[in-house]
Symmetry: C2
Subunit: 556 residues, 2 copies
């Protein structure tokens, strides 16, 4: 088997207008970025407003393990398979961040014969959306300090600036800094820090906005600091919202690319699911729903993180009603959840699968709580045995759920046709009755508790007094009725990344809370999760270079 990059490079891509034609997008609405990437014009998107929405399928997963699950790969494979069986499907994915590309080896454009292409470009700068988001975020930051420097007319309390700078990079050195050192000309020294761009509120606002004007309004509502009297200072108070919207006006148009099989894919926006809300843009998803017969979208990491936030935040905010959820698992990953070490994954171990399937079961039950029918996609590895698969299938049958073995990694869409048929059956049965897991009129603390109990099966949350007080201050300022966005490790239902399987009775420690008034949620940072990752001992960047012919070597 070739590498993902070798397979992607060997593919013959179709001109992007051919892909646009499949969704009925006219050439006048296609702004090319090279020959195989394009942005779709906002006027065209606005003209579709009155069309009905197609069914929406969420692809999510178990808690990830080093064994690999293949969620994006399955999303792409399912989209290709739906097109193969005669359903005009659009795939909606997030854009990759540069951070992981140069940190831990691995891109975010699928794999094997189920990829979106041009994968190298998608994994690098793509159409520049993340850079635009970074620039908008940091323009606001510069304007905060600049306002203080020039006499502080808004009476900002330098100790109460919540707006952080950002960078699309894994750079632990920037997590916590002191800025404005060096004397009078450089301003007033204060503590500051950078988050990775995918964790920024601008990214969240970008992904939750319904159009350019909604974007500008949300940017204006973002709270950056408090005054000495405790009043909130917003981006609009700083008159930064207009310039930020200008920086984002091209980026907000969804990106169109293709899969290796020529299925249309809208790849747009990219908040991480562990430290942010984890879903692609509302603009792209809604565009797909207007143009396709069915839309397949992915939420990041496990169903406890990206899935929960897709359903409680994105769907609620954008008025989306998904028809079906697909949970991706692998035999190997379930063995790891069942206690098997990584180097022993090659040997059959039905008992470990039976043990580890508890993780999958819980995610399926959770999605059922949201009112969704669920199909389980078992992403096939050659070492899997029939008995191991049967253990999964039987456990799922007990929950009223089908488990389907898929080979799209090796065979492309043809390997996911069974999955596609199962998904179509679920859609056509019309049993979905989507509802969020918590109502908006609870206290913020109770909303965090509801997710911890209903989804993570925690006994309770641990809320330090200072954090509780901050939540109450958000409520007092009128932000009590928003959903909560949990930031925590993706590896466990708990906040401890080493606890696999399906733990119960744990306590979710809430370390810090941040108001995202423009995005319309409160972020609750739980456990040791970092909003700025670091590079590993041997970063992937060290083995990335250019070949003599100018092609990329070592990326993914």
């Amino acid at each position: 088997m070739n590498s993902d990059l070798a397979i992607a490079r060997a593919a013959t891509l179709q001109p992007i207008q051919v892909i646009a034609d499949k969704l009925g997008i006219p050439a006048s609405a296609v702004e090319p970025y090279g020959r195989t990437k394009a942005k779709i014009g906002l006027d065209f998107i606005a003209s579709l407003e009155d069309r009905p929405d197609a069914p929406l399928v969420l692809v999510t997963g178990i808690n990830p393990t080093p064994a690999g699950e293949g969620k994006t790969t399955t999303t792409v494979g399912l989209g290709d398979a739906l097109n193969r069986i005669g359903r005009r499907a659009a795939i909606c994915l997030r854009e990759p961040s540069l951070g992981p590309s140069f940190g831990m080896k691995g891109g975010a454009a699928g794999g094997g014969h189920a990829q979106v292409v041009p994968m190298d470009q998608i994994n690098l700068h793509f159409t520049g959306d993340f850079h635009a988001i970074t620039a908008a975020n940091n323009l606001l930051a510069a304007m905060v300090d600049n306002s203080i420097y020039w006499g502080n007319p808004l009476d900002i309390d330098e100790r109460r600036i919540s707006w952080r700078r950002c960078m699309d990079m894994n750079d632990r050195a920037l997590r916590s800094i002191v800025a404005s050192l060096g004397g009078v000309a450089n301003g007033f020294p204060r503590e500051d820090g950078f988050d990775i761009t995918v964790a920024s509120e601008v990214m969240a606002v970008f992904c939750l906005s319904r159009n350019l004007h909604d974007l500008e309004a949300r940017l204006g509502r973002m709270v950056v600091a408090q005054t000495r009297d405790g009043a909130n200072v917003t981006a609009a108070d700083l008159k930064a919202d207009g310039a930020m919207a200008v920086l984002l006006k091209d980026a907000i148009a969804p990106n169109l690319v293709q899969t290796l099989e020529g299925s249309p894919a809208l790849v747009h926006g990219g908040p991480f699911a562990n430290i942010a809300h984890g879903c692609n843009s509302v603009m792209a998803t809604r565009l797909g729903l207007k143009l396709a017969d069915v839309v397949v979208t992915e939420a990041g990491f496990g169903a406890d993180l990206g899935g929960e936030k897709f359903l409680d935040i994105k769907c609620r905010s954008a008025g989306l009603k998904p028809s079906c959820a697909v949970v991706v698992a692998t035999v190997r990953a379930l063995k790891m959840h069942g206690g098997v070490e990584r180097h022993q994954l090659g040997a059959e171990n039905v008992e470990a699968v039976r043990h580890g399937v508890a993780n999958l079961q819980r995610h399926v039950e959770n999605l059922q709580k949201f009112g969704l029918p669920v199909v389980v996609a078992v992403n096939h590895f050659t070492s899997d045995t029939a008995a191991e698969f049967a253990a999964i299938r039987d456990a799922m049958a007990a929950l009223g759920t089908e488990a389907i073995s898929c080979t799209h990694w090796a065979h492309g869409g043809a390997g996911a046709e069974d999955l596609a048929h199962a998904v179509v059956r679920r859609i056509e049965a019309g049993t979905a009755a989507y509802k969020p897991i918590y109502p908006l009129d609870m206290t913020l603390a109770d909303k965090i508790r509801a997710i911890a109990r209903e989804i993570y099966r925690a006994y309770d949350i641990a809320l330090p007094d200072a954090v509780a007080a901050k939540l109450e201050s958000f409520e007092a300022a009128g932000f009590g009725e928003v959903p909560v966005c949990i930031a925590k490790t993706q590896y466990s239902f708990t906040a401890d990344p080493t606890i696999m399987g399906a733990p119960v009775g744990h306590v979710l420690p809430v370390r810090e809370v941040r108001l995202s008034a423009g995005a319309g949620f409160v972020v609750a940072i739980c456990g040791d999760i970092m909003t700025m990752p670091g590079l590993p001992r041997v970063p992937a960047a060290e083995s990335i270079c250019l070949r003599e012919d100018g092609a990329i070597e070592g990326l993914f």
Copy 2:
């Protein structure tokens, strides 16, 4: 008269392939970014290597004043005029930085009827080149700190890290920071800081590289720190060069756009001329020279800064031999150099022009020292009188130089035809005998002194012992034979921005020196110049927003 943006928006742009056809660039070599921007393929560029070079014209200026000179505008007008009189001209400009766009009002794409378009896109993210440069710079920075974090195998002395982070933003708060605070997980605290991207060595390397492989080799040579034994640590030692080249591989391809009159313009790379070397990319200039009958290029700020560095650094490094220099001046600016206050510029004042023309004279004499014939372009304002222009014309005649009145701002290329004819006459006379102002085998201190004396007419330089010792350490490490890149205020021949006209007998204070081993020069920072600007009291960003129809309001 409409605003620049209104004029630009009213223009009907030609498809970019039509512009490419004018230079004989085949469709296969044109990578579209939207309909009116493109990158030119590297393979096509490599195929032109054996073609002869067209004549090269440098457009430079007097020391800028708040009255405005219009150097980019004149570069565009001259290019349009050359095309009008039957010479196939290509225009080579730098890309604008976001910093000034949101700081002091004003873009960098020309003005009036002499602009490159789409000006709003060129002034914003354009094709993403600066973002790619920023990412490459900051990846290297992250890898420096990461190497130290993971046991410091290269024995980097944390006190001797010279590599700074960068951002394409005016943000004084980031000039001087302490990073890696917050405990063990965040690394070892150390002093650090950000420069604006246009001041970074990656930008210089980007602009001086002849091809992708030269770029990767230069990136690898960049010195980022010293070990505890005093040995230099390079980007190659950190294995960062390959990944940086991958981040830059699309960006390094020159960008093609058009003027309002449809002349081809290569807009690529953009170091500032006060804090960096101030010229567009060698790749773009050389591409133009292979394709056009004549290439018009601009160097930033006055001829003492961008012009000197174009001739001493870029031309020497890239083997370019310019045929003619154009110095841009305005009656209003020369009046300011002659001591007139800004609010009195509307009244005729021949005496002030005669006094202020000394600034122009000196720039002309300086360019003649480089062996170049000079034409002076007087960018016409309606308040200019015939007597004022005559004062300039007579002073220039005494230097053997023509002064031509130009009205391209109001009339486009038609307003610069006289200038175009004058330039053609100079080219065809074949009198240019380009030579740098100093040889490379002087000491670094003597090279700085040579520029100070020959170009700035300083009495001497002031070199603190610590700075002198650093220059000697660069020489000891084998970097003595490189040119020097002076960073100083653009407003004066001296390092004091308030001293206008043509001062003599001053001393140039060298504050700091930095080795740019990949770019191949040593930067000498003189006076109070900052490598990270700040925003003004009322940043332009405050009045930038989107109109109801999605168009940009208030930018430029």
